[in-house]
């Protein structure tokens, strides 16, 4: 694997690759024993760290590149810490059930030592996660993007409870060979999509993941940019979308979608799609020139035959106003009380996912965007004119998505509203009002 980095003296873990090179030759023979799918390190090591990564973020992943990066990172760390063994328990299957189980574990005090937590679940686990502050420097903290750091920090205690590995934001994917400047307004997007459909024979004009993720994917940004709010900025994410100006703005956004469907620019089956794979397959088939999607689609899109023809731009807004970008992502949380383990864990995470170079390396392998300025500024992928660079730029001012306890309820109601509008069973006004009454009933 190539090391295409620019040396930055301030970065902490440059030692890692150098040490790896130094150790690699003599220990190549022994390295085989150290890493198995479930255990890293010698089975008789006295200290055990239990770690629960997500399947795609683990060295059990389906993907070659990810496996290679993580295997190497974990093995190197393990060789430098022979008295520690790492038990890997991969989280797989349904996210909601996984979180539910983790909550039960945390309440019973038997959570694993290190667990991956998604930004949506930060609120849930603030009280259970242990602070990283004793183990990371102020400089490191400042290196994280401001929006990301805000989410990582417990609002009540001011302590950093999560180390966010990556961030994704939402915007517009477009065909750079057909479009010179990406449209900044939704109106322009509609016209351009229609035009390209006719000229180039695309099946559709614009695509969006219309399943459960559509509020996060699109509405939050489009409502906030016009000065409205879907939920309050409080810990509960109290919904406010159904009244006054917020309601008007939301109706306008939904109306735009309705118009897209009526004009034939957006197909009704968007309501079926909730997963990245669904969009990527359409991109691969070349069915449309625009996708309202997230930066997390980057990896998949890049692997399609025409991957290089796609670029990413910030979310277009009604009336072309400046976009408010939102971010979400995955992070590591620490749940053990043992101080020695906490120090080891922080060190492990720095060397595998969180240090600037490991973060950049992981980001490259997985198609993710780092959350640290140093990673973004000194990694070549983010300097050259590639989608990765545009991700980083889009993330610079992104704010965290709503993640309070009413967020899920709100999003489900709004997804339903969206689907009703797209399918034509309700007008935007009716849809918003029904979503509002559903939500009110539960509060």
């Amino acid at each position: 694997m190539t090391i295409r980095l620019i040396w930055h003296p301030a970065a902490r873990s440059w030692s890692a690759p150098m040490a790896a090179l130094a150790i690699a030759l003599p220990t190549a023979v022994f390295a085989q024993d150290v890493i198995t799918p479930e255990l890293i390190g010698r089975p008789d090591a006295p200290i055990t760290i239990t770690i629960q990564p997500r399947f795609a973020y683990s060295h059990q992943s389906n993907d070659e590149a990810r496996r290679a990066v993580l295997t190497e990172a974990f093995r190197d760390w393990s060789l430098r810490h022979p008295d520690v063994k790492i038990e890997v328990q991969v989280q797989q299957g349904d996210d909601a059930v996984i979180v539910a189980k983790r909550i039960q574990d945390a309440q019973a005090g038997r959570a694993a030592d290190v667990i991956m937590v998604e930004q949506v679940d930060y609120q849930t686990f603030y009280d259970f996660a242990k602070p990283f502050d004793p183990y990371i420097s102020a400089e490191t903290k400042a290196d994280f993007l401001p929006g990301v750091l805000k989410g990582m920090t417990d609002p009540e205690t001011g302590e950093v409870k999560y180390l966010q590995i990556n961030a994704y934001t939402y915007g517009l994917w477009y065909r750079n060979d057909l479009v010179d400047t990406p449209p900044a307004s939704l109106e322009e997007l509609g016209d351009l999509a229609e035009k390209l459909m006719k000229e180039n024979g695309f099946r559709y004009g614009v695509f969006v993941l219309g399943g459960q993720s559509v509020p996060r994917l699109s509405f939050y940004s489009q409502v906030a940019s016009l000065g409205g709010k879907i939920t309050e900025d409080d810990a509960d994410s109290t919904p406010v979308f159904g009244e006054g100006e917020n309601r008007e703005i939301l109706i306008r956004v939904l109306s735009w979608y309705k118009e897209m469907v009526d004009r034939g620019v957006m197909p009704k089956d968007v309501v079926n799609f909730a997963a990245t794979g669904d969009v990527v397959s359409r991109v691969a088939a070349g069915e449309m020139p625009f996708v309202i999607g997230g930066t997390f689609m980057g990896g998949g899109i890049a692997q399609t035959p025409d991957g290089a023809k796609w670029s990413f731009a910030p979310m277009p807004q009604l009336g072309g106003v400046a976009p408010v970008m939102h971010q979400s992502g995955w992070s590591w949380g620490m749940f053990t009380d043992d101080a020695e383990k906490q120090a080891l864990i922080t060190d492990l995470l720095m060397d595998t996912y969180i240090g600037p170079w490991p973060m950049a390396r992981w980001g490259e392998a997985g198609g993710y965007t780092p959350t640290r300025s140093s990673a973004l500024q000194h990694y070549s992928a983010f300097l050259s004119d590639t989608p990765a660079r545009s991700f980083g730029q889009a993330l610079a001012d992104a704010i965290p998505l709503a993640n309070g306890r009413h967020a899920a309820l709100t999003e489900t109601a709004l997804t339903n509203a969206f689907q009703q509008v797209v399918l034509g069973t309700m007008t935007p006004e009716e849809a918003v009002d029904e979503a509002w009454s559903t939500v009110q009933l539960e509060l």
Binding site: A275, T304, G367
Partner: protein
């Protein structure tokens, strides 16, 4: 022309009837197998073929590379083994526990036995989703979380109502006079069960076994709630690792297809081998209400 049975008519109507039956079955078989075959085709496609437009039904080549990948590079083969293991123990355990209960319902009259049978039916109605979270907490208390033992115990419990009822039906068909004859000869009830009833109820046992296998093999919610480590998961859960939701932008449709086929195949093969027994079981024994 007088006819002995209703099934022998004039030759032309008979041929027409035969043709009609074959035609009907051809449709039924085609409908049953089409989705499976389609997925099989999908599993042999390469990535670029998956998104080719216009799509082709048949893959370019009947290559098994997806299967090789899925079986060697992923935990799937381990998960197949787990499914076998869990299913086998469930069947054994369930029969061991249900046969005596079925004997009691069949051979003994005790107060409330009708009610208890109905209560059994109520247990049949409980979906594992309904008890998922309390089950998780409860098993955590019992220390049975994340273990095959815990899962097997729940599987057995899930199967008991249906198995007891099924076996009771088969036992009922065996004349009590045989019991009595054996008792007169000095056999204890246990010996009667073991030496008289069970041998005669073999078709019933086979049927129960097969229903248990199918049910245990298909279990999803229970292992999902109770298991955490990859090496313990059965294949019904492992398949989802290739689903679009979990792959974070990768395209793994052929792998998903291959994994799905792998998840079905052992059950189907076993079914083909045992299907004589199941039909014989259901027709030879009694399926009474």
């Amino acid at each position: 022309m007088t006819e002995a049975t209703t099934y022998v008519g004039r030759r032309s109507t008979r041929l027409a009837g035969n043709f009609g039956l074959y035609a009907g079955f051809a449709v039924a078989v085609a409908l049953s197998l089409f989705p499976i075959v389609a997925v099989l085709m999908l599993s042999m496609k390469q990535r670029h073929e998956v998104f080719a437009w216009p799509p082709a039904f048949l893959p370019e080549a009947f290559n098994l590379s997806t299967y090789v990948y899925v079986l060697t590079q992923t935990p799937l083969s381990r998960m197949l083994w787990n499914s076998f293991y869990l299913t086998a123990w469930t069947v054994v355990g369930c029969l061991l526990v249900s046969a005596p209960a079925a004997y009691a319902f069949s051979r003994m009259r005790f107060p409330g036995h009708r009610t208890i049978l109905l209560i059994l039916l109520v247990y049949q109605m409980i979906s594992s989703l309904v008890i998922a979270i309390p089950l998780y907490r409860y098993f955590e208390m019992l220390g049975l979380l994340d273990s095959h033992l815990g899962v097997i115990l729940v599987y057995i419990t899930v199967e008991i109502p249906f198995t007891v009822w099924l076996l009771k039906g088969f036992f009922d068909a065996i004349p009590v006079s045989l019991d009595e004859a054996a008792r007169i000869d000095g056999a204890s009830r246990l010996q009667v069960l073991r030496l008289v009833i069970l041998p005669l109820a073999k078709p019933g046992l086979a049927a129960a076994m097969i229903f248990n296998v199918i049910s245990a093999w298909s279990q999803f919610i229970v292992p999902f709630i109770l298991l955490q480590r990859t090496e313990l998961l059965p294949i019904s859960i492992g398949v989802l690792n290739f689903a679009p939701g979990q792959t974070e932008g990768e395209v793994t449709i052929p792998y998903l297809a291959a994994a799905s086929i792998m998840a079905m195949l052992p059950a189907i093969i076993m079914f083909i081998i045992l299907q004589r027994f199941i039909v014989q079981a259901l027709t030879g024994g009694a399926v009474k209400g």
